[in-house]
Homo-oligomer: 259 residues x 2
């Protein structure tokens, strides 16, 4: 990573608005001078789509970011991270980071015992890829449950973060879970927005792993120093309805300040 440069520009790629939760973490830590965000809102969501389609969309995002002189690219989207990273890395001349490996590292830093109950939540495509499950098994975690919780995505996009719709969905998705897990991996950038609801559902017990915080931790452990940059400029691009995306950005990033 070109950490010695005076000016650091990161690209953040997401299928839609979800990656703004990663932006939130990057802004909070002040790791970059400029964030170029691209949300492929014309084709969102990716999580219900096939691997080949997701790879194609990932490669097209590389084309988009080639218009900017970015130093690194973060694919905030777990679905893209699960399917398209190797191909995207082949096609780019800057480092491309996903969120799955950082998420796994963040979990490892917090949960040492290998018989802990780990719950992985993600879209259909992320869970089907078994990327989280495989990495966790490789590290010796024995009790991993993975659930496709794709309906949380449109609910969050509608601006609903708690209440009876979210609760009904949790009862539906978690119907076979008998006791609260020790950790929950929020394997989709939308899910941090309902993190509190999920935590409450499980009685406040689980450690929550959030892609945005995980990638910040990961970048810092790879040489980016926190707080070095204070006034990050955020530029937002979208393949559809950029005005709408900018409005969501204002709401979500403000919601952060209000916390």
């Amino acid at each position: 990573m070109k950490c010695e440069k005076d000016f650091l520009r990161v690209g953040v790629f997401d299928s839609g608005a979800g990656g703004l939760t990663v932006v939130r973490s990057l802004l909070r830590e002040g790791l970059f001078d400029e964030i170029v965000y691209f949300g492929d809102t014309a084709r969102v969501p990716y999580g219900t789509k096939d691997s080949n389609t997701i790879i194609r969309y990932g490669l097209e995002a590389i084309e988009f970011f080639n218009n900017f002189d970015i130093d690194i690219l973060v694919t905030a989207c777990n679905t893209v991270s699960a399917h398209a990273l190797p191909r995207m890395r082949e096609k780019s001349d800057y480092p491309v980071y996903g969120v799955i490996e950082p998420g796994i590292r963040a979990l490892e830093n917090r949960i040492q015992k290998r018989d802990a109950d780990i719950l992985v939540l993600g879209t259909r495509a992320t869970i089907d890829s078994a990327r989280y499950q495989r990495e966790l098994h490789n590290l010796g975690y024995e009790r991993v449950t993975a659930i496709q919780t794709g309906m949380f995505v449109p609910v969050v996009e509608e601006g609903i973060f708690d209440g009876e719709i979210v609760e009904a969905m949790m009862r539906h998705y978690f119907r076979d879970i008998e006791s609260a897990p020790d950790a929950v991996i929020l394997g989709c950038t939308h899910f941090p927005l309902i993190s509190t609801a999920i935590e409450d559902y499980f009685g406040g017990k689980p450690v929550m792993i959030h892609s945005g915080d995980a990638i910040v931790e990961y970048l810092e452990s790879h040489g980016l120093s926190p707080g070095a940059k204070r006034d990050t400029e955020l530029r937002i691009f979208a393949s559809d309805n950029v005005k709408g995306l900018r409005e969501i950005a204002r709401n979500w990033l403000e919601a952060e300040h209000r916390r």
Copy 2:
């Protein structure tokens, strides 16, 4: 319409799986020898996207159907019908039917009194277009309420047609409705699958207007004779995960037979 032809082939275009509810109606009435279905599953849903994007996708669908010698095209998707029909008609050399005008006609045939309470449900893009609302007002209907109920789409796509998630969503969306409407226009091809739940919510009172039944009625009133064709061949194409779409088709079209 070329009704004199021995062999009638219809194209049915939808953003994804939803249009299969229209296929169901077409199959039931046996209006065509062959149905060529195209679901743009790589970019579904359309209902959250901008008008220009929806028009572009509609025009690309025309390109797709130019590969087949279709006699007419039905755009099953209400969102496309609301935004892209004029442009699609310019670009095609066969008649292109939407579902909004047929839906309005179906309502008019069933609800005569102009002070009836009409509830229109649709995606954001459909409701924002105000196509239903304007047509209804032009016909003198005075009491029209339109609500964006986009979250029903992913719920139906998850195979959930009733129960507490659907009920929680109805309480959310219908929170300002004080008394049961006289008619509900299901202005999205996904909604017929939760028609019973909506009807029950309103105490069984409303007349339910379903795009599939409406387009059949409309085509019949425009010269296609019902029941003329018995063994319709259905060919299904998708821009992503065609296997998944064919499976949904099997489930939904079977569900119909079981009713």
